[in-house]
């Protein structure tokens, strides 16, 4: 297993190769990408920042916990920081497991833990020139 906080573009296909093994019947690759809209507002790009030293430790801990819980060491995750354009990957998670159902569950568990715990922040840039920190925990009924 391996995890990294990176500033260069993530090579998703390379991560998939890292978790391949003849003991695995299923490989799952999750790629989180910058999309052009959030809560109805046109988005032009996202700046990701982090408490980098802590994010590295926390990400490594999440990977180790997921490996132990789902019984596979074939897990690789990279989270990118910096200014990302539309369509660029912010996070890539690769999981390999003997069984497909467990591979899906492990991938999704890792993603949800990462979103809950990783000290990473994003500021969206909008078509009207404004920028805003995103708070996924905030309720914004007006934009739903």
């Amino acid at each position: 297993m391996r995890s990294a906080i990176v500033t260069q573009p993530v090579n998703a296909a390379a991560l998939l190769t890292e978790v391949a093994s003849t003991a695995n019947g299923a490989l799952i690759l999750f790629v989180g990408t910058v999309r052009d809209e959030n809560d109805g507002r046109p988005v032009l790009g996202i700046e990701y920042s982090a408490y980098a030293e802590m994010a590295e430790r926390e990400l490594a801990a999440i990977v180790a916990e997921t490996a132990a819980r789902f019984g596979t060491s074939d897990i690789v995750v990279e989270h990118r920081l910096g200014t990302l354009e539309l369509g660029e990957a912010s996070v890539v998670i690769a999981v390999g497991h003997a069984r497909r159902a467990v591979a899906y569950d492990a991938s999704r568990h890792l993603l949800e833990e990462l979103k809950r715990r990783l000290p990473v922040w994003k500021r969206e840039g909008y078509a009207d020139g404004s920028r805003e920190w995103v708070d996924p925990s905030a309720h914004t009924p007006a934009h739903r």
């Binding site: 912010s90 996070v91 979103k115 000290p119």
Partner: protein, 80 residues
């Protein structure tokens, strides 16, 4: 004792800086440190009990601080 507090993202914006040194009495907790930060100009825009980490690990408001600790005040996370 003196401890360093780190501020990030929206919290760094409202306080106009990314770090500051705090002087606290012996036995001070995370809660005491946060009260001091919230008394600074702009600090009132932080929640009363924000997420914090001490020395790179999430910590509770009751956590006692020691000299040289690195306290990070963590805005709502948005990774992924």
């Amino acid at each position: 004792m003196t401890i360093t507090a780190l501020l990030f993202a929206s919290y760094a914006d409202v306080l106009g800086r990314t770090s500051l040194d705090l002087t606290l009495g012996p036995g001070a907790t995370v809660r005491d440190a946060i009260q001091q930060i919230r008394a600074l100009p702009g600090g009132e825009r932080l929640p009363p009990a924000p997420l914090v980490a001490v020395n790179l690990e999430y910590a509770s408001a009751e956590r006692r601080l020691a000299p040289g600790d690195e306290l990070a005040v963590i805005p709502p996370v948005a990774g992924g």
